[in-house]
Symmetry: C2
Subunit: 421 residues, 2 copies
């Protein structure tokens, strides 16, 4: 009997898969010996029966080992589980690098409501994300910061994820955890912060689920040699004001130049940067973060990276955005109770800032700007959301209108960083 | 979202699949629009979460409707869930037809330890099993009995079964039940006995599982317009003495000629025949069965069928069997506690009487003859099993030796028909 049949039979009966069996199945699937339909049956059995911690570690290790493994033990890295308006990588990592801590960061593209850092970087004219390992390593050494596309790492995870995406087996905690950590282990940075998003615009909709995933990510990472922490941040509301590729780069530039940005973005980005410095044992990390932004070194580091990767530094400060297609206004006076991240994400997607399916072309200039936050008082007719773009405007307006909830009571400010692990 | 994704998402969360969704998925899979890997994920979700009765009826109906549907409302049919030495079709159905009740019977080939009636028929020189619907119908009308291969009926079941066989999703009660009944509904006989085997040589190893399946088969059949009953028969020991294609035809001929055959075979076959007559409302069915065997009309009916389907009637009474390759003897004096059906089946398979995998060539003359039954007293060195064939003899001897359990205590006779539903 083949390894995958052994694994299916054991797992469907609630059994535990030995490490060697997990390795044989993953290697078989990656090499093409195990067909999609058998792997799909196994993944559904895992979705329904689960994997225990030991099995999850074995799966993570095997997927990390399925392609090249980089090694950057002195570098830091961060990972977000995906949110709306999530430009924390662009904001926090230049600060960390400016403080002298090297950053080795590989990112992905967006799909559905979730944006991807690679797409945001490609909104910068000329910016190249396809770095070889040698180029990536040289840039980490010379600039102290490189941002590449996680193409060739953990190919087993890539293949398994593509299958999960079409077989209803994405929503499994051990499969999610092993997928994320396998790529991080393959990237090889020694120190890592997980930014686990919780809320309507995140994959983890509840704080309990987010906490469970955060704990798993840290535990798996530590088991595989990474010095890791996690924070859980709010994603009931999109982060900052801007959602959309060029719009988010502009907002990131504003943050790094010390200009005024929404408080949630400022808090989360300074926190992530400080946590990363602390992980590397830097004293007084928050003061270092504030100083790097105030003295211009953080923005200068972003410019260094853009220059090193072929991007147009002159354009960076003022990327073109699409024309304003519509503004959504408050239908009456009141207090903003919610500006739902999922609705805003759908509006942005409709405008062409994201992909409905793999391979869709993006409008880098399209997106949404949130003009109010939960707790703000608004007048009747006051603009609350501005939409940039030329496609799907009517649909986007509908999503944005649906995202707004007005109330007549005061709305208590909610913390943006919900928990630290 | 496609129908299969809708079905996967609903089922993995424990939801109920609407009839129209089940139909759309099955039609999509049969037409090739639903890929194997998505169907495999759905089947595993069904294996682990289950289908309720309404869903199982809908699946059965959809699979029955996936190809041509025959209609033989006055005919009887029987179905065995598969056993070792199971020649009940060959023994009981000629009796029923000889009593004037028409029989429309489609059968399959054997795989693994389970034999198939089609293989047994092909041990008769010239016998053809590939009948068109018109040929099958004409023979039912003219001879009162036709035995064909269930080739074109319920193609959805055929496709889904092939996928289940390679994805660990065979062992699901609703999938087993719907698979069996869909083919029976498509065959269209109005009256049906299910012979559900229970024991080491059957798919249902326990009486509880066999009862659950028997109840489901009857309930599904009645829901889809078939007048059905079930009996549960023992399969801890292979039925009769002979296991192997020509050997089983010879034993069936002996039964139909009223010659002495093992008591279990005699009891089960006369019972099944009488139940089928009773289902059709024939008075005094057991006496009719006994008379048809005693007066030669039952064997004459088998000859009619063999002749009608091109088989050599002269050869029928004395089919060639392979040479005796070995005899397994009792290692000591004692009482036969068990002659395990699974071990005997493996011995027969090793000798080439069955298929390890689809497409394997059979040795029609190969097989096993059981010379003793549980409860028999044996001397040291007394032959207990005779092996016919030329391949895999050493392996077969090992399996046959392992099948024998000797005891020093009296062994109470076990009933062969365990329950009637």
């Amino acid at each position: 009997m083949s390894s995958v049949i052994d694994a299916i039979e054991a797992k469907k009966r609630g059994g535990k898969l030995p490490d060697a069996l997990i390795a044989a199945v993953v290697e078989g699937y990656t090499s093409g010996d195990v067909p999609d339909y058998q792997m799909a049956a196994l993944l559904m059995a895992i979705r329904l029966v689960g994997l225990d911690y030991d099995e999850t570690v074995a799966l993570t290790r095997t997927m990390a080992d399925s392609g090249p493994r980089y090694s950057f033990p002195d570098c830091v890295d961060k990972h977000s589980t995906g949110g709306v308006g999530d430009k924390v990588t662009l904001c926090a990592l230049p600060v960390v690098a400016a403080c002298g801590v090297p950053v080795a960061k590989l990112s992905g593209r967006g799909l559905g409501i979730t944006g991807g850092t690679i797409d945001k970087l490609e909104a910068i004219p000329g910016f190249g994300v396809a770095l070889t390992e040698a180029q990536f390593r040289r840039q980490v050494e010379e600039v102290g910061f490189a941002l590449g596309e996680a193409g060739e790492l953990a190919p087993a995870d890539k293949a398994i994820y593509a299958l999960r995406d079409t077989t209803g087996t994405v929503d499994s905690m051990p499969l999610i955890g092993s997928s994320i950590v396998s790529k991080k282990v393959a990237t090889g940075a020694g120190h890592l912060i997980y930014d686990v998003k919780a809320g309507s615009g995140a994959f983890m909709q509840t704080l309990d689920d987010a906490r469970e995933l955060a704990q798993l990510l840290v535990k798996l990472s530590e088991a595989l040699g990474i010095n890791a922490r996690a924070i859980i941040t709010d994603m009931d509301t999109a982060l900052g004001a801007a959602v959309g590729n060029a719009l988010e780069v502009r907002e990131s530039v504003a943050f790094l130049r010390g200009e005024t940005v929404p408080g949630d973005l400022d808090e989360v980005c300074r926190d992530v940067a400080a946590e990363l410095l602390e992980l590397r044992g830097i004293d007084d990390p928050r003061a270092r973060v504030d100083a790097a932004i105030a003295d211009g070194s953080a923005y200068a580091k972003l410019e260094d990276v853009v220059r090193a990767q072929g991007g147009d530094v002159e354009a960076l400060g003022d990327l073109p955005v699409a024309e304003v297609a519509a503004e959504v206004t408050a239908p009456r006076a009141g207090v903003v109770g919610a500006l739902d991240a999922l609705g805003i994400a759908r509006a942005s997607l409709a405008l062409g800032a994201g992909r409905q399916k793999k391979g869709d072309a993006l409008d880098f200039g399209a997106g949404v700007v949130q003009l109010v936050r939960p707790g703000d008082t608004v007048e009747a007719g006051q603009p609350v959301v501005r939409l940039h773009g030329s496609r799907g405007v009517a649909e986007a307006v509908g999503h944005a209108e649906g995202a707004l909830t007005l109330t007549d009571e005061a709305v208590a400010p909610r913390p943006h960083v919900l928990e630290r692990l």
